[in-house]
Structure formats: C-alpha cells, structure tokens
Symmetry: C3
Subunit: 200 residues, 3 copies
C-alpha cells in the first residue's frame, strides 16, 4: 500500500514534468508552465474523484502539490536535458498511464461505481489531465487525434474489471492490466498503429 | 416515472449520436468519436449534478453508458444514412433539449437549489454537453454564436419555475415548459431568428 | 461578516461585467454575453468549492445570480461608457482578485484543505473564472501568457497562509494579503513587468 502511495506521487511528478514541457513549447512563462504542469498532473484524478463525489486527494494531502512543484522545477531547470530524453520520458508515460488507469478503476469500484463506469473513470484518471492541458493550450486534444493512447487505457481498464469479476487476485490483476496498457501503447507508437477514422 | 427513465436513456443516446457525428466531421478516429459522444451525452447533466454536489447518475447506473455506446455505434455504422436525416435529427434535438431542461430544473428544485439557480442548472443540463463538445473540438461553442438555442432552454426553465411557484400540476407544467423550449427552437431555426449582438 | 458578503456580491457583479465585455469584443449575442459573464463570475469560486466537495454558494443563494444579471445588464447597456473607463475597471479588477484570493484561501483552510492546497485554491478562486472565459472564447488563457496576474494572487495567498500560521490576526492578515495581490498587479501592469519564459 505504501509503495502505491509513492508511485502515485512519482506519477504526479512525471505528469507535471510533461505538462510543464508542453507549455514551454508554447512560449509560456514560468507561472504558466507551473500551472499547466499542475493541471496535467491533477486533472484526471480530480475529475474521477469529482464524478465519484469525493474530495480529490491533493486537497488534503500536501505531498502531491510538493511532488508537482518538484516536477515543474525539474522541467524548468533541465529542459534541454529532458528534450534529449524524449524516448525515456515516453516509456515513463507509458508506464504511468498503465498505473493511473488501474488505480482509477480500483478506486471507482471501491466507491461503488458500476463496472462500466469504473472502466470510463479509470481511463479518465490516466488521460483527462492531458485533455485539459491541450484544451488550455488551445489545441485539439491528442486523444481525439489519430494516436492510440486512451484506447490503450480503455483496454487495460476493461481487462481489470473482467478479471476482478472473475475473482483474480488483486495484485496479479493490477500487474496484468497495467502491463496491457503500457504494452499496447508502446506497440502502437513503435508500429505507428492507428484506429480507423469514422466515415472515412 | 419509469417512462421518464427510458426517455432519459433515449436522450443520452440521441446526444451521443450527435456528438459522435460532430466528431466525425473533424476527421477524428473511432475512439475520439466515442469520447466526444460520451462527453456530449453526459456533460450537461453531470455538470448540474456536480454543482448540486450529487454523484452523476451514470456513475452508479450502467444503463446510461450502454445507451451512449449504442448511440456511438449507430453514428459510426449509419453515418451516411444519418447525414441524410438531418431534419429528423434536428427535431429529436429540439425535443431532447426541452426534456432535459425540464428534468434539470425539477431535479435542482428537488435538491433545494434556489429558483433562479434551478433555471440556470436546467438550461445547463440541456446545453453544456454541447458546449464541452465544441470546446474539445476547438470551436467557439454554438451557444455563444448567433443561433437561438440556450435561450429557448432558458425560456422553458423560467416558465417551469414560475408555474411551479404558481402551484400548477407537475405533469402539465413539464409538458408546457418542455414544449415551449422545443417550439421556440423550431421557430427560431425555421425563421432564422437571432438575438441582437452586444454593442453592435 | 455582512460587509464581506456584500463585497462578494459586488465582486461577482464586477467579474460579470468584465466577462460580458470580453464576449462583446467577439461579436457574441446578448445571451452569449450573459453566459460568458456568468461563467467568469462563478467559475473560480465554483471550482474551489467543487474541489472542496462543497456546493457552490450561488446554487442556494439566489442573490449571486441577481448580482451577475445586474452586471451583465450594466455591460450591455453601458458598453460605450465602460470602454472609456478601462483604467477604473482595471483598478476594480486588481482589488477584486485580491479580495477573492483571500476569501478563497480562508474558506479552503476552514474546510481543512492543507496549507499548500489552500494557496492553490485561493489563487483558483480569483483566476479560474477568467481561464474558463478565455477557453470558451477559444483564446489561450491570459494567465498562460506573459502578464503577471495569477502570480500576484499566488503571492498574496502564500502570504496569507504564512501569516495565518504565524498567528497574525485574521482581519489584519486579510487586509495585508489582499493588498499585496492588488499592489503587485498594479505595479506589474504599470511597469510592464513579466516573468521569464521557460527555456527561452
């Protein structure tokens, strides 16, 4: 349990880094970068918690905001180094969305969302921070464009709910479902897989 | 009561169709269309429930997500047929916003919103799904442009609150107020009525 | 206490005026102006309350919506006069964000947010209405561009939390912290101060 807490903090930091770096590509000032990093990091989980009618975890636990602040500082101070580490950051992101999806599904089930709503809320936990970031930066959100991103989260979320219904051990289930998300994401980018366009 | 529940599900499906079709006009993939359909369908009611500090209905009741999924599938599979049914879909939409407005006002009053807030929240129930859809698709929301859409909802919401204060029977009130929304909307489009521009 | 209530209503009205005027610069109709005014006025405080898992104050207390309606009417009727009063409105706005920041921090602490979350939520109370307004109008939010705006709110929010921890009298603290926000904002605009750009 304690390990999951620290992974969650680490995840918030990594998302904050990616948000701040996206902002920096738009010629935005330091505050704007921090703001974008913050929104990217807390957006998905906060939306899930609001739909569950819970208070988002960062409101009471200051550690999340400290982790986000650290992420923003890292992005600002080491921007040039990080730009060269794009491949490593991509892997972190692929692992991160797997982790956030599973945590999101699990929390939703715990607070009595239906199975199908837990799938949606798990996916939201992982992707909505990025959607809000892109909307703020006045871009069409990445997940509405061609890349396979949210679909990977959706697959892992569905697997988790199915295995959970089938009585599979929680830890094994979490590992398998999170891995599915990361693997689909990596394969999709490696082989440039895309989904078909509607009516195309 | 049961009838209202099924109309509500039908309404979610129709909104999901319209959202998915709007997405398809932007060259968006199948997942993006589903996501946009979902957001259009649940956006307004969810925002109302969040302002009322309630859990949105689709989180616990999986039928809403199934109805939305059905709507997205219909939009994807029958896109070309639907494109030719624009007039029928418009009528469905005009009826739908009347229904959603009245349900929204009624729920807000039930959970002790003030009369004026119930008017705003009733209108939100009907139009905010579309606002979020347009914002995601990086367009200026339709309701901020010239057409009479939200104004129709607002008129019906005001009528409902006034008749409710006057002690008019709920079913009659709901019928009259929803009809007012639909009629204003149809007349506005038929005769291309618009509101004046500020400072114009 | 009663004085604060009336200042809060006045603040909602001033924000509604500024929102409606921003909309009018986009050739938006009267309803769109009212909608934008409303969103600008209630956006920040509502987001704070939603994060605190509280019901926003305007849902139960109709006076806020009446104040907002009055603000929209003023903007529509006296648009040309107000355009000439840009300097006065700027001062009102600088005072308003100081007030809203302090009220937001105080409410967040009262409802047991952590100190660092109270800083974020206080800043949100003052600036997020404008962020939502700009996003709806399909612009990159002002606070992500170069001007010092949210940074002023952030400074005041941090000062309030620090003085509060130090046991400073609440009224003195509120006065000092709100003043800091307004003074930073005025100086930043007067001397065209900006924050550095990331990686620039």
């Amino acid at each position: 349990m304690e390990l999951i807490y620290y992974i969650d903090l680490l995840g918030a930091m990594v998302f904050a880094i990616s948000g701040a770096m996206a902002a920096s590509r738009h010629g935005i000032d330091i505050f704007g970068a921090a703001f974008t990093g913050f929104v990217t990091a807390i957006g998905g989980g906060s939306l899930r918690d609001i739909f569950l009618n819970l208070r988002p975890v960062w409101v009471n636990d200051g550690n999340y905001l400290i982790a986000i602040l650290a992420g923003v500082l890292i992005a600002v101070l080491f921007k040039k180094v990080l730009d060269k580490l794009a491949r490593t950051l991509f892997l972190f992101d692929a692992l991160g969305i797997g982790f956030f999806t599973v945590v999101g599904v699990q929390k939703s089930l715990l607070f009595e969302a239906s199975g199908i709503a837990a799938v949606v809320l798990g996916m939201f936990s992982a992707v909505m921070g990025g959607v809000i970031r892109d909307t703020l930066l006045n871009e069409t959100p990445l997940i509405l464009r061609k890349e396979i991103y949210a679909t990977a989260c959706l697959s892992g979320a569905i697997l988790f709910v199915l295995l959970d219904m089938g009585g599979v051990n929680y830890n094994l289930n979490a590992f398998l479902s999170a891995s599915l998300v990361s693997v689909i994401r990596v394969i999709a980018v490696r082989y440039q897989l895309t989904l078909p366009i509607v009516g195309g």
